[in-house]
């Protein structure tokens, strides 16, 4: 009977897996091609690459197909796959002034060197359901593309623009404060959170790495709490840019030479926050300044990049009070893979634990004669 019982659990798992597939097929439509997801579910692909912390658009699209659009689960698949890959190189620092920009805006200054580029954004579209998409066909695609490409024919051969950073304008004027902790924490060796567990106080590298792979919704909620009143960060968007950057590694054999290994799309945000007003900054020698927060994530995920920059700044508070200012609180709770895994583990049986609890509760009641 023991043997049969063991088979029972195994069989149930297998059947559950079949049911999952059945539910994906039972509508009777043609299976989605991974390329369709890659092309037409861009935002989901970006989010999954960011949270799975693996820049692999095709695999992210595959993960989305496999999980029926569950971004948490899809990011988890990428993250698990990532564990099987050896770490061969660390790229050299990316200079984002060389970014091939597709979108670039500043909320701090009306005009900026190089100008503002709205780029692909839904920000100023009306959020109306477009019922025409219900009947969208290949003809629509062809017509639009022919018309649009003719329209931009002159510009299309120009290389994508690169721009100086808006925030450097403030830096040149000496208006930007670098938080004290970061100056202390500067070291040559960069921490790697995929190889070491978080330690507190966390280095800036650890903080930024954790944020870069954080779950969009969790980060937004925490950043929002800080903007709204649990904390005091009112971010001014110095600059938000989206575009492609080259990744370069040192040549493994020839010293001084570098190799470009590829291009990734990223969203980068730099916020400036108001003058520091807390008491510890009121000493006479310090003049009011701005402080910066930095956000960078894979793909085009602007909410996440803004939230990241806000949290980066919030966590730099020297006297943390609000949840978003407490680096342990933030960094331990924003990882989607960890949070979703633990949240769903409560579905596992807890018979033994619960029995132990029952035993204690009954014991106390018995003693108090309230049985």
């Amino acid at each position: 009977m023991a043997y049969v019982a063991v088979k029972g659990g195994k069989k149930a798992i297998e059947e559950a897996e079949k049911l999952v597939t059945y539910y994906r097929y039972k509508g009777g439509s043609t299976p989605i091609e991974v390329k369709q997801i890659l092309d037409q579910m861009r935002m989901a692909v970006y989010q999954v690459m960011g949270e799975g912390s693996l820049y692999a658009p095709e695999l992210a699209a595959l993960a989305l197909k496999q999980t029926e659009g569950d971004t948490l689960e899809a990011s988890f698949l990428l993250r698990a796959f990532r564990s099987t890959l050896p770490r061969n190189f660390y790229s050299l620092p990316v200079d984002t002034t060389c970014m091939q920009v597709i979108r670039r805006i500043s909320a701090a200054f009306k005009d900026i060197p190089g100008g503002q580029y709205l780029g692909p954004t839904r920000d100023y579209t009306k959020r109306l359901l477009n019922f025409e998409l219900l009947e969208e066909g290949e003809e629509h695609v062809k017509d639009f593309m022919a018309e649009y490409l003719a329209e931009i024919e002159d510009e299309i051969h120009e290389p994508p623009p690169t721009f100086p950073k808006v925030i450097d304008l403030l830096r040149q004027e000496g208006l930007l404060e670098i938080p004290k902790r970061d100056k202390e924490g500067e070291t040559k060796v960069v921490d790697d959170i995929t190889r070491q567990s978080l330690r507190f106080p966390a280095s800036r590298a650890m903080r930024l790495q954790s944020l870069a792979r954080g779950e969009t919704g969790s980060m937004m909620a925490l950043a929002y709490s800080s903007m709204r009143g649990y904390g005091n960060i009112h971010p001014v968007l110095g600059e938000l840019r989206v575009g492609y950057v080259d990744l370069v590694v040192s040549h493994p054999l020839i010293e001084g030479e570098t190799i470009t290994v590829g291009k990734v799309m990223v969203t980068e945000v730099e916020i400036v926050s108001e003058i520091m007003t807390s008491n510890e900054h009121r000493d006479k020698n310090r003049r009011p300044k701005f402080t910066a927060g930095y956000g960078l994530c894979f793909g085009q995920n602007e909410v996440k990049a803004i939230a990241m920059a806000t949290l980066d700044r919030a966590m730099a508070s020297e006297n943390p009070k609000a949840p978003a200012e407490d680096e342990e609180f933030v960094l331990y709770h924003i990882d989607g893979i960890e949070a979703s895994g633990f949240t769903s583990h409560w579905k596992l049986p807890h018979y033994v634990d619960f029995q132990a609890v029952l035993n204690r509760v009954r014991s106390v009641r018995e003693r108090e004669g309230r049985k």
Partner: protein, 291 residues
């Protein structure tokens, strides 16, 4: 999966790192060693810490047993066992006596484990001080200074309020007279098994990225007061409906048809052996921990 992925799924450098951390953990009983926990194709919080330890120490000659809440048949136990077996090709068993490595969630088997066996425990909360202190930075300081006053006060207040300590599973223990440790969510029933055992106990918390250990023949004492001794669960008058056992940890179960409440062994392998024995099938049942 073999062939596509490395033996035991994880790459060899990572396994080496985990084994080094295990050695450190064994050298400092009860001390939580941070490690660069990797994501596995099993969800975080579902045993990835234990699994990383198992996969790092398992060799082709090993025999693995996986239990969840005492049960070999639990779906999660099946899933983990299946993963270990497919990525390593080792033999699996449900018999506690036959296994060289047992990975477990929340139970220690009823049959006493030997010196040639290893028990790998899955840990959700490696920090026993989490009962009283949420900050990791602070709990690390408290351990470093052996400052367990908050925990003692917490236990004292429990007695004042309830007449006893109501912690049921995850009962704090003192290891080797130095570190307060979370024994993982095993019931109190299993806690005394950790004391001066022949077996090596390894604890893995994947999500929280900590490894710790209790080497054989180490003092493991539940935190208690001179006038309020630690007590295990009381099953007085209860017995297993299937094997009649009166001295094993019992689960309380409701019959799916009649709704009638009964008790059954949580260790299903042990229970099955006893049932076989009583129906005259020859079977070897191991010694008990509390003999």
């Amino acid at each position: 999966m073999r062939g596509i992925y490395n033996y035991g799924f994880i790459d060899e450098n990572t396994k080496k790192e985990i084994r080094r951390k295990l050695l450190k953990a064994v050298a400092i009983p009860g001390y939580q060693v941070p490690f660069g926990s990797r994501e596995l194709p099993i969800a975080r919080g579902w045993g990835t810490g234990g699994l990383q330890i198992t996969l790092s120490i398992i060799g082709p000659e090993d025999t693995i047993k996986v239990i969840d809440q005492g049960c070999d048949d639990s779906v999660n136990a099946c899933n983990l066992r299946d993963f270990i077996v497919t990525t390593t090709g080792v033999k699996s068993t449900t018999d506690t006596l036959e296994a060289s490595i047992i990975q477990t969630r929340h139970r220690i088997p009823e049959e006493k484990m030997r010196a040639d066996q290893i028990l790998v425990l899955q840990v959700p909360y490696p920090e026993t001080l989490r009962w009283v202190e949420p900050s990791e930075q602070e709990t690390r300081r408290m351990h470093a200074e052996k400052d367990y006053s908050k925990l003692w006060v917490f236990l004292y207040e429990e007695i004042v309020r309830w007449g006893e300590i109501t912690l049921s599973y995850r009962y704090p223990v003192m290891v080797n007279g130095r570190y307060a440790m979370d024994p993982s969510p095993i019931p109190r029933w299993d806690v005394p098994k950790l004391h001066q055992a022949e077996t090596l106990f390894l604890f893995g918390a994947g999500r929280e990225k900590r490894i710790y250990a209790i080497p054989p023949y180490t003092d493991v004492v539940p935190l208690q007061f001179e006038d309020y001794y630690f007590q295990v669960e009381n099953f007085k008058g209860k017995f297993c409906k299937f094997c009649g056992s009166t001295d094993s940890y019992l689960d309380e179960v409701y019959d799916r048809e009649t709704g009638e409440r009964y008790f059954a062994c949580s260790d299903t392998s042990f229970c099955m052996k006893r049932r076989k024995q009583s129906s005259g099938i020859p079977v070897k049942i191991g010694r008990r921990w509390y003999e």
